[in-house]
C-alpha cells in the first residue's frame, strides 16, 4: 500500500526516510501478518490503496477486487473515514446473528496530536538551534509522523481484511455497502447522548459480566476458555503497556544520540587541535548508530508492542463472545424455569415452550460457532506470535550486527589515526 501524507508534509518526506527499502515493506507485511490466516482469495480482496492526511482527519481509499455477483463491478474504490469503520464494526456487534462470532476489533482512532504538537514546537523553536540541528530534528519528526500514519493505515486495513476473510461476515450487507457505496455514508459520530448510553451499556455489561461469569459452565471447553481468557487478557494488557514504555525509552535514548552527534560535530568544527578529525568521525558514528537504534525501537514497536496491542483487542473481542454465550445460557436457563413455572400453573405453556425452544436454539448455535471461533483464535494467535517473535529476533540480530560493524569500523579508523 502506498501512503502519502497530505499538505502538512509534502512528498519530500518520502525521501526523508531512512535508507533501506525494507522499511516500507517490512512494516506493511508486519501488521497485516499479525493475522496470518488472511488468505485473500479471488472471491473478495480488500486493501487500502491510498490515504490522505488532512488537518484533523484521515481519508482512506478502500480498494476492492471481487468476483462475487453482489457487486456491480469487479474492481472499485471508495473513500472512507475512521468513523465509517467504527460504524461498520458497531453494526456487527449489534447484530444478533453474529453473536456467536469473534467480531474483529475496531481499528483505533488515528492520533497525530502528539506528533503534530512536536512539529509545531520545532517550528517555533527554529531560531534557537543551528540550521543543521533543525534539519535533523525535522527529519526525525517527519519520519515519526510518517510511521504513525502508516500504522494507522495498516490497522484499518487489517480490520477490513479480517472481515473479508470471515466466511460469514464477508457476506454482510453493511460491509458491501461500506465497500461499494461511493458517497459519504453520513455516519456521524455518536453524539453525547449516545455516548452516554454506550457508557451505561458497558457498565451494565461489565456488572453483568461479573454475575454471568460466576455461573460455572457445564462444558469443560468453555470453562477452560473463560478462565484462560480472563487471565490472558489482563496479562496481555500489562505486557502491552510495558512493551510500549520500553520502546519509548529506547527511542528517547536514540534521540539523545542525535544530540550528542550534533554536539560532537560542533566540537569537531571548532577545535583547534588535531582532535577535530576525531570528533567529526565520532559524531558521524553517533549519527549513524542513532539511525539504527531508532530502527530497533521502531521494529520493537511493530513486532512486539503492536502485536500485544492487537491481541489485547482480539482477546477482548473473544471475551465479548464468551459473554454473549453466557448471556444466552442464562436466558436459556431462565426460559427453562419460566416453562416449568408455566407448566406448574398450566398457564401460557405454549408461549413458554416456544420461548424456551428459541433460547435453546440460540444458545446452541452460539456455542457451536463460538467453539470454532475460539479454536481459530488460538491458531491465529500462536501463528502470529511465532511470526512476529521470529521476525523480532531476526531484526534485532540484523541491527545489532549493523551497529557492531559500524562501531568496529569507526574504532579501526580512530585507532589507526591515533
Amino acid at each position: 500500500t502506498r501512503a502519502c501524507a497530505g499538505p502538512l508534509l509534502g512528498a519530500a518526506m518520502m525521501e526523508g526516510l531512512d535508507d533501506g527499502p525494507d522499511f516500507l515493506s517490512e512494516e506493511d507485511r508486519g501488521l497485516k501478518a499479525i493475522n496470518v490466516d488472511l488468505q485473500s482469495d479471488a472471491a473478495l480482496q480488500v486493501d487500502i490503496s491510498d490515504a490522505l492526511s488532512e488537518r484533523d482527519k484521515v481519508k482512506f481509499t478502500v480498494h476492492t477486487k471481487s468476483s462475487l455477483p453482489n457487486f456491480k463491478q469487479n474492481e472499485f474504490s471508495v473513500v472512507r473515514q475512521h468513523e465509517e469503520f467504527i460504524w461498520l464494526h458497531d453494526s456487527f456487534v449489534e447484530n444478533e446473528d453474529y453473536a456467536g462470532y469473534i467480531i474483529p476489533p475496531a481499528p483505533p482512532r488515528p492520533d497525530f496530536d502528539a506528533s503534530r504538537e512536536k512539529l509545531q514546537k520545532l517550528g517555533e523553536g527554529e531560531g534557537s538551534m543551528t540550521k543543521e540541528e533543525f534539519t535533523k530534528m525535522k527529519q526525525e519528526l517527519e519520519a515519526e509522523y510518517l510511521a504513525i500514519f502508516k500504522k494507522t493505515v495498516a490497522m484499518h486495513e487489517v480490520f477490513l481484511c479480517r472481515v473479508a476473510a470471515h466466511p460469514i461476515l464477508r457476506k454482510d450487507l453493511n460491509f458491501h455497502v461500506f465497500l461499494e457505496y461511493n458517497q459519504d455514508l453520513s455516519v456521524r459520530g455518536k453524539n453525547k447522548k449516545e455516548k452516554l448510553e454506550d457508557f451505561f451499556k458497558n457498565m451494565v455489561k461489565s456488572a453483568d459480566g461479573v454475575i454471568v461469569s460466576g455461573v460455572k459452565d457445564v462444558d469443560d471447553f468453555f470453562e477452560h476458555e473463560r478462565t484462560f481468557l480472563l487471565e490472558y487478557h489482563n496479562r496481555v494488557k500489562d505486557a502491552s503497556a510495558k512493551s510500549d514504555r520500553m520502546t519509548r525509552s529506547h527511542k528517547s535514548a536514540a534521540d539523545d544520540y542525535n544530540r550528542i552527534g550534533s554536539s560532537l560535530y560542533a566540537l569537531g568544527t571548532q577545535d583547534s587541535t588535531d582532535i577535530c578529525k576525531f570528533f567529526l568521525k565520532v559524531s558521524e558514528l553517533f549519527d549513524k548508530t542513532r539511525k539504527i537504534e531508532a530502527r530497533v525501537s521502531a521494529d520493537e514497536d511493530l513486532k512486539l508492542s503492536d502485536l500485544l496491542k492487537y491481541y489485547l483487542r482480539e482477546s477482548q473481542a473473544a471475551k465479548d463472545l464468551l459473554y454473549r454465550r453466557s448471556r444466552s445460557l442464562v436466558d436459556y436457563e431462565n426460559a427453562n424455569k419460566a416453562l416449568d413455572k408455566a407448566r406448574a400453573k398450566n398457564k401460557d405453556v405454549l408461549q413458554a415452550e416456544t420461548s424456551q425452544q428459541l433460547c435453546c436454539q440460540k444458545f446452541e448455535k452460539i456455542s457451536e460457532s463460538a467453539k470454532q471461533e475460539l479454536i481459530d483464535f488460538k491458531t491465529r494467535r500462536v501463528a502470529a506470535f511465532r511470526k512476529n517473535l521470529v521476525e523480532l529476533a531476526e531484526l534485532e540480530l540484523k541491527h545489532a550486527k549493523g551497529n557492531l560493524q559500524l562501531l568496529q569500523n569507526c574504532l579501526a579508523v580512530l585507532n589507526g589515526d591515533t
Binding site: R235, S249, S263, K378, A393, L414
Partner: protein, 519 residues
C-alpha cells in the same frame, strides 16, 4: 578598589625545582604516565561495614534521589588559611565553576558486585606508546589508585576514609609501593596548597572533586541505600582521576606537599576547608570582590595568542557543557530503558505463564529471560555512559575553569605591573615638584621611593613575562593532554558499546531457535 597587593610569592621556597623543570619539562610532555586504577580495588563500593543491598533481584531502585552534587553555597577550592600569613594571596579565584554539576537525577545503579567487578573503568591504560617509551628508558612512572572507601566514626562527625595507593619507580619516593589512608578534606587541603603555590604563577592546577553537603550527609547519617553507595563510588572515582591528573603534571609532581600527601602516614588535618568557617566566609567575600575586579581590568593585550586562546577556551567550555547535558540525558534515558525492560521482562514471563499453548508459552518465557539479560546490559552501558563519557566531560569543564583562572591571574599580574608604573610616574612627578620647591630633606626620601618603585616596575615586568611564558607552556601541555585524554576515553567508551552489541547478538541468536520452535 585595588585589592591588597603583596609581592607575589613567586619563589615560594622552591626556586631550584622550578627552574630546572622549565627546561626539562619537555621530557615529560609526551609521556603518558602509566596510570591505572589500582588493581587492589576490585570492589569499588566495598563498604565493609555496610550491607550493600542495592543488588537485589527485585525491581530497580527507582527512587529518583536528587543526588545534588550542586555546590554548596561557599564552594571554593579550600585552603588552609592562617589569616596572618603574609605570603599567601588569599584570593584564589580559579575555583572550579560550580555551575557544572548535574541537576538531573543521576541515580546510578550500584555496580553489581556479584556478576562482575565494575570499578570505574580503567581510563589511563598503558598504550603501546607508553610501553615503548618505558622501554626507551624513560622512567616517568607512577600509578595512583584510590580504593576501599571506609566509613569512620558515627553520626555527623563520621567521614569516609579512602586508601591511596602509589606504585612508582621514581627515585624521589622512598619506596616503590605504598599506601595511606586519606579523607576527602585531605584531598581538598592538598589542592588548596597546590593552588595557592602554583595557580597565580600560571600553572594549571587540576581542580579537586566537588563537595556535596547533601551527599555526604546521607552517608554520615548512615543511609545505606543504593544512592549513597553510588555517591561514594562516584566520589572515589573522581578522587582517583584527580590524583592521576595531578601527578601527571611534572611540576606538581615535584611538590613536597604532594609527596607528603602520598607518602606520610599522618597528615595534619586540613582545617578551614569547611564551608561555614570564618575562612569560608572570607573566601566568599574575596570571590565577590574578585568578580568586580575582573570586570574592571582593561588590559592592553599585546599578544594576540592570549586573546585567541581565551576565546577558544570560552568556545570549548560552551560546547562541552552542551555535550555534557546531552550525555547526562542519555544516562538518564538508558537507566529508564533498563527499568522498563526489566518491567517488561516480568510481564512477558507472566504472559507466558498464562498462555495455554505449550510451545508458545515456553517461547514467551525465553523472551522474558532474554529481556532480563538485556536489562542488565543496559545497566552496564549506563554505567559506562556515566563514568567514561559524562565524567570525562565534567572533569574537563572544571579543568577549563582552572585554565580560565590562570588567564585571569595573568591579567592581575599585568594590572600590578601597570599600577607600579603609574605609581612610579607619580613618584617622579612628586620628585620634580620637590626639586622646584627646593625642600632638600624631602628629596632623599623621594629618590628612595623612586628607586623602590623602579624595582617594583622591573619586578612587575619580569613577573608578567614569566607568567605569560609559563601559561604558554602550560596551555600547550594541557592541550596535548586533553587530546590524549579524550581520544583514550572515547575509544574506551566506544569499546563498551561494542561489547554491548556483541552481547545482544549472543542473546538474540540464542532466542531465535526458540521462537522458530513454536509449532
Amino acid at each position: 578598589m585595588a585589592a591588597e597587593r603583596e609581592p607575589p610569592p613567586l619563589r615560594d621556597g622552591k626556586p631550584t625545582d622550578f627552574e630546572e623543570l622549565e627546561d626539562g619539562e619537555d621530557l615529560f610532555t609526551s609521556t603518558v604516565s602509566t596510570l591505572e586504577s589500582s588493581p587492589s580495588s576490585p570492589e569499588p563500593a566495598s563498604l565493609p561495614a555496610e550491607d550493600i543491598s542495592a543488588n537485589s533481584n527485585g525491581p530497580k531502585a527507582t527512587e529518583v534521589v536528587l543526588d545534588d552534587d550542586r555546590e554548596d553555597l561557599f564552594a571554593e577550592a579550600t585552603e588552609e588559611v592562617s589569616l596572618d600569613s603574609p605570603e599567601r594571596e588569599p584570593i584564589l579565584s580559579s575555583e572550579p565553576s560550580p555551575a557544572v554539576t548535574p541537576v538531573t537525577p543521576t541515580t546510578l545503579i550500584a555496580p553489581r558486585i556479584e556478576s562482575k567487578s565494575m570499578s570505574a573503568p580503567v581510563i589511563f591504560d598503558r598504550s603501546r606508546e607508553e610501553i615503548e617509551e618505558e622501554a626507551n628508558g624513560d622512567i616517568f612512572d607512577i600509578e595512583i589508585g584510590v580504593s576501599d572507601p571506609e566509613k569512620v566514626g558515627d553520626g555527623m562527625n563520621a567521614y569516609m576514609a579512602y586508601r591511596v595507593t602509589t606504585k612508582t619507580s621514581l627515585s624521589m619516593f622512598s619506596k616503590s609501593e605504598f599506601s595511606v589512608k586519606r579523607r576527602f578534606s585531605d584531598f581538598l587541603g592538598l589542592h588548596s596548597k597546590l593552588a595557592s603555590k602554583y595557580l597565580h604563577v600560571g600553572y594549571i592546577v587540576p581542580p579537586a572533586p566537588e563537595k556535596s553537603i547533601v551527599g555526604m550527609t546521607k552517608v554520615k547519617v548512615g543511609k545505606e541505600d543504593s544512592s549513597s553507595t553510588e555517591f561514594v563510588e562516584k566520589r572515589r572515582a573522581a578522587l582517583e582521576r584527580y590524583l592521576q591528573r595531578t601527578v601527571k603534571h611534572p611540576t606538581l609532581l615535584q611538590d613536597p606537599d604532594l609527596r607528603q600527601f602520598l607518602e606520610s602516614s599522618e597528615l595534619p588535618r586540613a582545617v578551614n576547608t569547611q564551608a561555614l568557617s570564618g575562612a569560608g566566609i572570607l573566601r566568599m567575600v574575596n570571590k565577590a570582590a574578585d568578580a568586580v575586579n575582573k570586570m574592571t581590568i582593561k588590559m592592553n593585550e599585546s599578544d594576540a595568542w592570549f586573546e585567541e586562546k581565551q576565546q577558544q577556551f570560552e568556545n570549548l567550555d560552551q560546547q562541552l557543557r552542551k555535550l555534557h547535558a546531552s550525555v547526562e540525558a542519555l544516562v538518564c534515558h538508558r537507566k529508564e530503558l533498563s527499568a522498563n525492560t526489566a518491567a517488561f521482562a516480568k510481564s512477558a514471563a507472566m504472559l507466558g505463564n498464562s498462555e495455554d499453548h505449550t510451545a508458545l508459552s515456553r517461547a514467551l518465557s525465553q523472551l522474558a529471560e532474554v529481556e532480563e539479560k538485556i536489562d542488565q546490559l543496559h545497566q552496564e552501558q549506563a554505567f559506562a555512559d556515566f563514568y567514561m563519557f559524562s565524567e570525562l566531560l565534567s572533569d574537563y569543564i572544571r579543568l577549563i575553569a582552572a585554565v580560565k583562572g590562570v588567564f585571569d591571574h595573568r591579567m592581575k599580574c599585568w594590572q600590578k605591573w601597570e599600577d607600579a608604573q603609574i605609581t612610579l610616574l607619580k613618584k617622579r612627578e612628586a620628585e620634580a615638584k620637590i626639586m622646584v620647591a627646593n625642600k632638600p630633606d624631602k628629596i632623599q626620601q623621594a629618590k628612595n621611593e623612586i628607586r623602590e618603585w623602579e624595582a617594583k616596575v622591573q619586578q612587575g615586568e619580569r613577573d608578567f613575562e614569566q607568567i605569560s611564558k609559563t601559561i604558554r607552556k602550560e596551555v600547550g601541555r594541557f592541550e596535548k593532554e586533553r587530546v590524549k585524554d579524550f581520544k583514550t576515553v572515547i575509544i574506551k567508551y566506544l569499546e563498551s558499546l561494542v561489547q554491548t552489541q556483541q552481547q545482544l547478538i549472543k542473546y538474540w541468536e540464542a532466542f531465535l531457535p526458540e521462537a522458530k520452535a513454536i509449532a
